[in-house]
């Protein structure tokens, strides 16, 4: 087990490095000069532009820039943001924590609800509850997440005044309960991200449970006279959960990207806003840092779900 995890971790390193390398080259191949973006909308002398370019090492050829970047990376230096004028790690870490505060609870909540709904729905496949769940999956899947965000803001925050429109904390207050304040701000964006996560997971959970419940050993268990509850919890659920766990890990990457959009709509100070802004200003070092971080997170979440699956399903071997 331990050697499996270690082996997986080691094989993850080249995957992450490859992602970083490809994204490094790609971002630099995208037309547009970061210095022009940095200088802004004002006529400036050409010497000024050249001077800035040299200051950031952008006058070097791409392969030299790549080598320097990787050298620094191995020394633990993630680069220096052109736009923020701060080390990349300083810029990214707080934002990443905020994004995780939005995404991780949503992913957990969404997973729990998905499994609950699916297990209720499959009691009678094609029944009212099952049809309802399938329709919900189809409906949520076909609407854009940022639009839902806007509608929620207009209805629940502006019209009804129940929730705040923007932000993660009430910046005016100083004395109120931090946790309650956070939950109050989390409610709208969190419920949307949870719902989108729930839908993706419920789709797999439902199909998987239906498939398992049609297998021979379930028929045997039922024929043995076990009650429904026992059949479900002892036989269907553990077997059906293997693909569900995998999909939870796999959709974590999706949840991260959908949260980028929700962050923009709700003014959530996470990595999404930083990402959009860095693309616009061609802030390569920050983009690089975000790619590195998200790649690592996705690889780790996949690894975690693989470990859990293998614990649950003895058929999965750790590999030799």
């Amino acid at each position: 087990m331990r050697s499996f995890i270690i082996r997986r971790l080691i094989t993850s390193v080249p995957v992450i490095l490859a992602i970083v390398l490809v994204s490094f080259v790609l971002t630099r191949l995208v037309p547009g000069d970061p210095i022009v973006a940095l200088v802004g909308d004002y006529p400036v002398p050409p010497e000024y532009v050249e001077e800035r370019r040299q200051a950031f090492g952008l006058d070097q050829p791409i392969y030299v820039q790549t080598l320097i970047y990787f050298k620094n990376l191995f020394l633990g230096d993630f680069g220096y943001s052109f736009v923020n004028r701060l080390p990349v790690m300083d810029v990214i870490l707080q934002r990443a924590a905020n994004t995780l505060l939005l995404v991780v609870p949503s992913q957990i909540l969404g997973s729990i609800i998905a499994v609950l709904l699916a297990s209720m729905a499959i009691r009678r496949p094609g029944g009212r509850l099952d049809t309802g769940l399938t329709s919900l999956i189809l409906f949520v899947d076909s609407i854009p997440i940022f639009w839902v965000g806007q509608v929620f803001i207009i209805v629940f925050a502006v019209q009804l005044g129940l929730f705040p429109v923007q932000g993660m904390f009430n910046i005016r207050s100083t004395g109120s309960n931090v946790i309650l304040d956070f939950l109050w701000h989390w409610a709208l964006p969190g419920s949307i991200v949870s719902t989108f996560a729930m839908v993706a997971i419920a789709r797999v959970a439902r199909v998987s449970m239906i498939e398992v419940s049609r297998l021979d050993f379930i028929t045997t268990a039922t024929a043995k006279g076990l009650n429904r509850r026992r059949v479900f919890f002892r036989h269907i659920l553990p077997n059906a959960m293997v693909p569900v766990i995998a999909v939870i890990g796999y959709t974590f990457g999706q949840a991260l990207t959908s949260s980028f959009m929700i962050e923009a709509v709700f003014g959530w100070p996470g990595i999404g806003e930083l990402f959009l802004r860095s693309v616009a200003s061609r802030d390569y070092p920050v983009l690089q840092g975000i790619f590195l971080l998200t790649a690592t997170l996705v690889v780790l979440s996949n690894l975690l779900s693989d470990v859990i699956s293998s614990q649950m399903d003895p058929r999965i071997e750790y590999g030799r």
């Binding site: 210095i35 022009v36 004002y42 502006v158 705040p164 005016r172 923009a264 709700f266 806003e273 802004r277």
Partner: protein
């Protein structure tokens, strides 16, 4: 709104009085002693201080103006409280001296002040300087500093001014770099006195010494021996002297500024705290104002399409932003054939229905431009110049001019094919492109629209790769600062410079003369002449003079005297 118009009425009277007094001929502009009362500062900013006109703004008028501003503010300002305004994104730096980024200007011009400030009329008044003495030859400017301190307790001295101009702004501010070229020397005569000597008279010099123009004074003792671009004071822990100081900056969320207890203007500011909340989505900013979560949206962060939504709400005010005039125009690459022929460029103007564009692309907000310069500088605008009369929408005349210039139609009726660069973020860009494609088809011109994002668009336009392009430019507060860059030949090829690549020695000469005078009326003569030539030559087709608006809750008071980037010194909350 009522109060504002009363204020303006009073101002007119004041201006009359001041203009009478200007016959005295003295060139001394003195600000009031800060201890003289809470309204003195607003008096000075209300009063129209036309430096070139040579008038006095002295203590003698304080009583009169006090009455003016007292009746303008219906109640005594309330002390305490918090105001929240929005930003689209975090500022890059905390001082305007390093970048022209709007968010930086908004925060930086609260934290740091220039020798001069800028009033609601867009004119300079002494701010960190107590007074300005201008020599008769308009070459020597002597400033006496107010008794102000940095937040670490050290006094602000003439050495700070000299160091800032020479080592920080002069090297890093895209705007102040240009100012410095007109300055011969900067001398710290004593702790509180600084003398600036110009190479030759420079009209916009006092405007150029404001924070807006990248000339906020920074502390020498914090910056000396460091790189201002990486100094912590520039991007995280400022040591400032303005009415509010930075207490906390949570990136991507907000910046919290608290009242500076040692602020040099006595009794100010009124608010305890101002918070800049970062709200990246345009709809989100408007909704935050509608729900009362924030108190103000500055002009650069408010979407035109949301104006009606705010106008309908009786609790909110939507008003034209006081800022340097800007213009939206189409540049024609005058180096490429057949656009090197001015008849072709005139034909394009005749083929453009600007009234229709105003209605369709800008929802009727703003105005169709009447001059190659946008409005806003009455002294520089020729009132007889009216592009709408000179170039009414007339496809027949456009066709005739094109025939005359020898740009003939081929068998399919097409005269020309060319590309048209627009930027997706530029307001009205896509509507204008679609409408123009239609309008110009009638005169045989086939447009290929290229939507390109900045910074790539900026680069390509500067390199002359666009036949025509649509842009928005700001005047930067003076024709010599903003408009000159569009037309003089020295800015061909620079970013956001002369996009038309237009080169005319006569225009170069007129712009040089226009900036070397200080008297506004004398300067106006050159600019008016330049407009006549440009109106004939048509290197750019001015389409639209935008009127950017800002929105705020009606409960937020004391913002009437602000310009471009509010200092919040007079702001208070009536709730």
């Amino acid at each position: 709104m009522i109060h504002r118009s009363i204020l303006q009425g009073k101002l007119e009277i004041l201006k009359e009085l001041f203009n009478v007094s200007s016959s005295a001929g003295a060139e001394d502009i003195t600000s009031n002693a800060p201890a003289a009362g809470a309204h003195n500062r607003s008096l000075l900013r209300d009063s129209k201080a036309r430096f070139g006109g040579g008038l006095i703004v002295g203590l003698g008028f304080s009583a009169l103006a006090f009455a003016g501003s007292a009746s303008a503010q219906d109640a005594q300002p309330k002390r305490g409280g918090t105001a929240v305004f929005v930003l689209q994104e975090d500022p890059t730096y905390l001082t305007r001296d390093l970048t022209t980024n709007s968010e930086t200007g908004t925060i930086g011009c609260i934290l740091y002040q220039g020798l001069m400030g800028i009033n609601a009329e867009g004119e300079a008044y002494p701010l960190l300087a107590k007074s300005v003495d201008i020599s008769d030859d308009k070459l020597t400017y002597k400033f006496v500093l107010n008794d102000a301190r940095w937040q670490d307790g050290k006094p602000i001295t003439a050495k700070d001014v000299k160091y800032t101009y020479e080592e920080i702004s002069g090297k890093h501010s895209p705007t102040f770099k240009r100012t410095l070229t007109s300055i011969d020397k900067i001398e710290a005569v004593s702790d509180k006195e600084i003398v600036i000597t110009l190479k030759k008279p420079y009209g916009p010099i006092l405007i150029a010494l404001t924070c807006q123009q990248g000339a906020a004074i920074l502390p020498e003792h914090v910056y000396v021996g460091t790189d201002p671009l990486t100094n912590k004071a520039s991007n995280a822990e400022p040591v400032s002297s303005g009415p509010f100081i930075l207490k906390e900056w949570v990136r991507g969320s907000h910046l919290r500024l608290v009242k500076n207890p040692d602020y040099w203007e006595q009794g100010k500011p009124y608010l305890d705290e101002i918070i800049a909340q970062v709200v990246p989505s345009g709809a989100g900013r408007t909704q935050a104002l509608l729900s009362g979560q924030v108190d103000r949206i500055p002009w650069f962060a408010l979407e035109t399409s949301d104006y009606p939504l705010i106008e309908r709400n009786p609790q909110l005010l939507l008003q034209p932003a006081r800022k340097p005039p800007a213009t939206d125009f189409i540049s024609i690459n005058t180096e490429k054939k057949p656009f090197d022929d001015k008849r072709v460029r005139q034909a394009l103007m005749f083929a453009t229905d600007r009234e229709f564009l105003l209605k369709s692309a800008f929802n009727g907000q703003g105005a169709a431009s009447t001059s190659p310069f946008a409005g806003g500088f009455p002294w520089a605008i020729d009132p007889e110049m009216d592009l709408s009369k000179m170039y009414p929408y007339d496809p027949a005349r456009a066709n005739a001019l094109l025939d005359e210039a020898g740009v003939t139609r081929d068998a399919s009726g097409k005269r020309l094919s060319m590309n048209f660069i627009i930027e997706p973020g530029e307001e009205g860009g896509s509507q204008i492109a679609a409408a123009l494609k239609n309008m110009w088809e009638q005169v045989g011109i086939d447009l290929t629209i290229e939507t390109i994002q900045p910074p790539l668009s900026t680069e390509r336009i500067a390199k002359g790769e666009a036949n025509i392009a649509y842009h928005g430019y700001s005047s930067g507060g003076d024709p010599a600062i903003g408009w000159s860059g569009q037309f003089v030949s020295t800015t061909i090829g620079s970013l956001r410079g002369n996009a038309a690549r237009y080169s005319n020695p006569e225009i170069d000469e007129l712009f040089t003369l226009g900036q070397s005078e200080t008297d506004l009326d004398a300067r106006g003569v050159y600019y008016k002449k330049a407009q006549k030539i440009l109106g004939e030559d048509m290197p750019i087709l001015t389409i639209h003079d935008p009127v950017d608006k800002e929105a705020q809750g009606a409960w937020l008071k004391g913002m009437e005297n602000e310009y471009m980037f509010p200092t919040w010194r007079d702001a208070w909350v009536d709730k």
